[in-house]
């Protein structure tokens, strides 16, 4: 590089310019999302893939921190989106479908990665975890579009997705943990904080409501980061306490919509763009092309294992065939936790960039392919379900939400 070019590169190599480039990419993704109707998260990953492969966009420590905080906040909000009443009311279906939808793909994909693809054991574990997930958000978007989000079937499917993701988060948080004193401290702190977190949060909200300094948001961040710090010290993963904290605060968040909105604004405007763009920059296009066959094989394994596990359960619970296929296909989707698991594997040196590329590409494909098939070929009759729900509510009034 000529001296003038070097001087320019040096002048531009400051944190504000770097931040401006990342925000520029986030802005491009947001505009594309508005035009195409595809979610901003997927587009941030794609923009990140382009920036990483063609502009050779690098990262630094604070970008890594912002991205990490983004994934933790994303996980917390995902946990807080659960509807506890459905879990209580339809626990048999939700727990069994959710648990089997986690375990079979986890074990099946792990076995495939280990025995067929020749990955090492821990690498195979990461593959199993990354492809065991079900995307609650992808499923929810389909439900809203088809109108099923308000039906009993829709609520059971969504609650089962939460249980599925809980399995993923627990596996990621526990399988790679170091069993030392820090982990013990983390377990003890989590056991102490989670039961009182809802009461404490309600107290903070009641006593500080309306303050411009947003103490309630800071208090939630405090709990999240404190437990995340202990988890990381124990060799576990900060998303584990974040998801659990989100789940116990779900009841509070259902009533405090303004608080949810503020946390979402923080997440979407500054944190999650760093996470998703970073996840994209680490994808290697040459590795993607070279690994196309393996990507399709992994996708096939995920779908097949979900079918083996979930489809018979839908029959056992008396869900009609078409609705059963629809449920099973939606349980095959994945996005957020799949990419978080793959990134965990890469950043902890468990998997290499080629394997990360294969897993993230499979995860992104799993957001599209099963959804399109479900909507195109197995969309149930909405009017019949609304009528059926109404009949059931008349017969069992206490079953109403």
């Amino acid at each position: 590089m000529c001296p003038r070019g070097e001087a320019l590169a040096e002048a531009m190599d400051n944190q504000y310019t770097i931040a401006a480039i990342w925000m520029g990419l986030a802005f491009v993704a947001a505009m594309l999302a508005g035009w195409t109707g595809i979610s901003v998260s997927v587009l941030e990953i794609l923009v990140g893939v382009a920036a990483g492969n063609f502009l050779h966009l690098g990262t630094n420590t604070w970008i890594v921190f912002l991205a990490g905080f983004g994934s933790v906040l994303l996980t917390f909000l995902a946990g807080a989106e659960i509807d506890p009443s459905v879990l209580r009311r339809r626990w048999r279906e939700t727990f069994s479908i959710g648990a089997i939808a986690f375990f079979l793909p986890f074990l099946g994909v792990m076995a495939f990665a280990y025995f067929v693809a020749g990955w090492k054991f821990h690498q195979a574990e990461i593959a199993g975890i990354a492809l065991s997930t079900t995307s609650v958000a992808v499923v929810y978007a389909v439900m809203v579009e088809t109108g099923f989000n308000d039906t009993d079937l829709g609520k059971v499917i969504l609650a089962a997705c939460f249980i599925n993701d809980l399995g993923t988060v627990l596996a990621l948080g526990l399988l790679f943990a170091n069993f030392n004193w820090y982990l013990l401290a983390f377990v003890a702190a989590t056991a102490a904080v989670l039961p009182v977190a809802p009461r404490l949060t309600r107290w903070v909200i009641a006593n500080t409501k309306g303050r411009i300094s947003e103490p309630e948001v800071k208090f939630v961040f405090l709990m999240m980061l404190f437990l995340g710090g202990l988890a990381t010290a124990g060799g576990s993963e900060a998303i584990l306490p974040a998801y659990l904290l989100g789940m116990v605060l779900a009841g509070v968040f259902m009533k405090e919509r303004v608080l949810v909105q503020r946390m979402r604004t923080t997440a979407f405007s500054i944190l999650t763009p760093f996470y998703f763009i970073r996840a994209g920059t680490l994808v290697s296009l040459p590795a993607m092309i070279a690994g196309l066959a393996l990507i399709l094989a992994f996708l096939g394994m995920k779908v097949v294992t979900k079918f083996i596990g979930v489809a018979p359960l839908t029959v056992a619970f008396g869900i009609p065939r078409r609705e059963g296929m629809y449920t099973t296909l939606l349980m095959c989707t994945g996005l957020t936790f799949g990419s978080i698991s793959a990134l965990f594997g890469l950043t902890h040196g468990v998997i290499d960039q080629r394997q990360y590329t294969i897993l993230v590409t499979t995860v992104v494909l799993s957001a599209f392919v099963p959804t399109l098939i479900a909507q195109q070929f197995f969309k149930p009759d909405l009017a019949a379900h609304i009528a059926e729900d109404a009949t059931r509510r008349e017969a069992i009034p206490e079953a109403t939400d």
């Binding site: 195409t36 109707g37 997927v42 958000a137």
Partner: protein, 140 residues
């Protein structure tokens, strides 16, 4: 001649002209008037339920405003406007609703809010004209 008119409401200038035409026809012919809005900008393949919820809330607020304005305009002309909001692919949902409601005339603006896909795949109006189960009036 027409007894059940369905008019598409998306708040665009084209849709406003379509509403004016539909109200006029409903008044002249004593027809029932139903207005439909379709939320089709909800994000696909989202990372968070909140992403979809926020988009849906914004869309709900926008279409509630659009439909209230349409209702007021129809009321001024002495026509009772029923409204419905659907989610999904606009052309598909409107055609389905026209069938379900047994509408005999569908009224829509020539240019609505069709985004980038419209440039490649044709506008919502093109698709409705092709697939509607009844007569279609495209207002320019």
């Amino acid at each position: 001649m027409f007894t059940r008119i369905l008019v598409c409401l998306d708040g665009s200038d084209g849709a406003k002209r379509a509403l004016a035409a539909a109200v006029r026809m409903a008044t002249e012919q004593g027809a029932e008037l139903l207005g439909v809005s379709v939320e089709e900008g909800l994000p696909h393949y989202a990372a968070m339920v909140g992403e979809v919820e926020e988009a849906k809330l914004q869309a709900n607020e926008y279409f509630a405003r659009v439909q209230q304005e349409a209702y007021d305009q129809a009321k001024l002309a002495g026509v009772e406007l029923r409204t419905v909001t659907l989610v999904g692919h606009a052309a598909q949902r409107i055609v389905e609703l026209a069938s379900a409601e047994r509408s005999d005339l569908l009224v829509l603006g020539h240019s609505g809010h069709t985004g980038i896909w419209g440039q490649f795949l044709g506008t919502t109006a093109d698709k409705i004209v092709r697939h509607a189960p009844c007569s279609v009036l495209v207002v320019r």
